[in-house]
Amino acid sequence: MQYLLLIYDSEKAQTAMPEADRQKLFADYMAFTKDIKASGHFKAGDALQRTHTATTVRVREGKISTTDGPFAETREQLGGYYLIEAKDLDEATKIAARIPTAKLGSIEIRPVMNYNT
């Protein structure tokens, strides 16, 4: 079963982070990704550019409208994701808890819809 792990963190706090901490965080992410690749849980994963680069698009009555910024203003912003394979929610939760940002922000676990069940 696949789960999408959405990584939320405060961009403001990220900006304020000292360089040494940032490097440590980056190294932690590298190690974590390597681990879940080795264990076979990793399917995909990326970090995203900051929300000031986001564009929201809608189509209404056939017309495309685009607006600057993310869909919703929130205290913590979506900053990256992993797509993993796990046997159940408990396993997915354990993996999500190991994402370095889990200590700083929050990880939302969303089961991927399976059209075969």
């Binding site: 929610l89 408990d90 676990i109 089961p111 075969n116």
Partner: protein
């Protein structure tokens, strides 16, 4: 020949176990399992009166429910094969015999842990536990929690759908997580009990039912996990519940512990609880065991004046260490006041002003200590503050009568 009422009694007794096993067969699909169990009961109603009751009613019900569920899964798979031409997924335990199905360790344990999974909201945990393990209908649960049956039904549907779609495992947690997960289960059981016990509002009869149901669930957790704390929880609930007939008078007014007619306490329940307390305290006491020990000291005092307050205060010291909440600290302060006098209690109560300023029982405790110190004017102010925050009608009447007393004494 078995009457319909007798068959229904068998259902009530066996439903949770039959359902728990069927959910295992359906791979955690609660909805499908509930339907299959319902159909098995309907089949029993149709067949038992004529064919006689089977030797193993539970085994019979499990096996019929399992076959019904497997039929549905097969039909779904077939449909999918036709639609997508895909490989079929066989349902679990397809070839298991009736005896094998029943012989496995009690499936209700998996059911409890799944219903109380931390990924579900507390209200959903409570509703699901009462609906699947308890014998309560959706309507009864809705009435007990003062919501509409529609809201309650939606809550249950959402919870069951989350279990299925997010694949919350239908199993007893691994050893490393077991203590924490058992804590959640116990807190759900105790919340159910308190909903029944705290006279907030609603149907009295139903509230008693909630208490009984919580005690039954607690016994089940204690029996299945043998956790000392679960025994403590059962003892605690039994002791509270033993006072149910003495804690209100004929008019529905509250009667304080010290004023209760102790001959109206349920002795059978007290004796059962007193036997459980030592088991609960084995291997270092937890929060339920400590509270049960405190309740046991009250239950063992022949008269209020003979209560062992120093021992109760000592147990509260330990409880505050394990559960450092302002409410526990307030209860400790009241115990110390009973032991060392209102003056000592009052200074402890006043230290909690910041945290409990909005809690009616903090004002009520303070008012009572001031009243006992003869400071009637201040007591009246505190009773008024408590009245401004009280929720339940019996508590309001009690505080009003105390306010009238201190006003008369001024």
């Amino acid at each position: 020949m078995l009457s319909t009422a007798a068959i229904e009694a068998v259902f009530r007794g066996e439903r949770a176990r039959v359902l728990a096993t069927t959910i295992r067969v359906t791979n955690g699909d609660f909805e499908l399992a509930e339907e299959a169990v319902q159909e098995a009961f309907a089949a029993a109603l149709a067949r038992w009166p004529a064919e006689g009751t089977p030797d193993e009613p539970r085994g019979w019900l499990v096996s019929v429910a399992r076959n019904k569920a497997i039929d549905v899964i097969r039909r779904r798979v077939k449909l999918r094969e036709i639609v997508a031409n895909e490989v079929a997924i066989e349902p679990q335990e397809d070839r298991a015999s009736q005896t094998e199905l029943v012989a496995v360790p009690d499936d209700r344990l998996r059911l409890i842990y799944t219903c109380c999974h931390p990924a579900l909201a507390t209200e959903a945990q409570i509703a699901l536990t009462l609906r699947t393990l308890g014998g309560l209908t959706t309507e009864e649960i809705a009435r007990a929690f003062l919501t509409s049956p529609v809201t309650m039904a939606q809550r249950l549907v959402r919870a069951k759908s989350k279990i299925k779609e997010a694949r919350i495992p239908y199993e007893v947690p691994e050893a490393a997580q077991l203590p924490e997960r058992t804590d959640t289960v116990m807190s759900v059981v105790y919340l159910i009990f308190n909903e029944g016990y705290a006279a907030t509002a609603g149907d009295t009869w139903l509230r008693r039912d909630l208490c009984r149901e919580a005690i039954r669930l607690g016994r089940l957790v204690a029996e299945l996990t043998s956790a000392p704390e679960a025994h403590g929880l059962v003892a605690l609930m039994l002791l509270h519940d033993s006072r149910r007939d003495a804690r209100t008078n004929d008019r529905g007014d509250l009667v304080l512990l010290e004023d209760q007619d102790r001959t109206r306490w349920d002795r059978g329940q007290i004796d059962e609880a007193l036997a459980l307390v030592p088991i609960a305290l084995r291997g270092g006491p937890g929060v339920y065991g400590l509270q049960a020990a405190i309740a046991a000291l009250h239950a063992s005092a022949p008269r209020a004046s003979e209560t062992d307050w120093p021992q109760i205060a000592a147990l509260f010291d330990e409880l505050v260490r394990r559960q450092p909440t302002p409410i526990v600290a307030l209860n400790r302060a009241v115990a110390i006041a009973m032991w060392q006098g209102p003056e000592a209690g009052l200074s402890l109560v006043e230290q909690l002003a910041g945290e409990l300023a909005d809690y009616h029982l903090w004002h009520a405790a303070k008012a009572d200590l001031l009243r006992r110190l003869g400071r009637q004017r201040q007591a009246a102010t505190a009773y008024r503050a408590a009245l401004a925050r009280v929720g339940s009608e019996p508590e309001r009447r009690f505080l009003e009568s105390r306010l009238a007393e201190v006003l008369a004494a001024m």
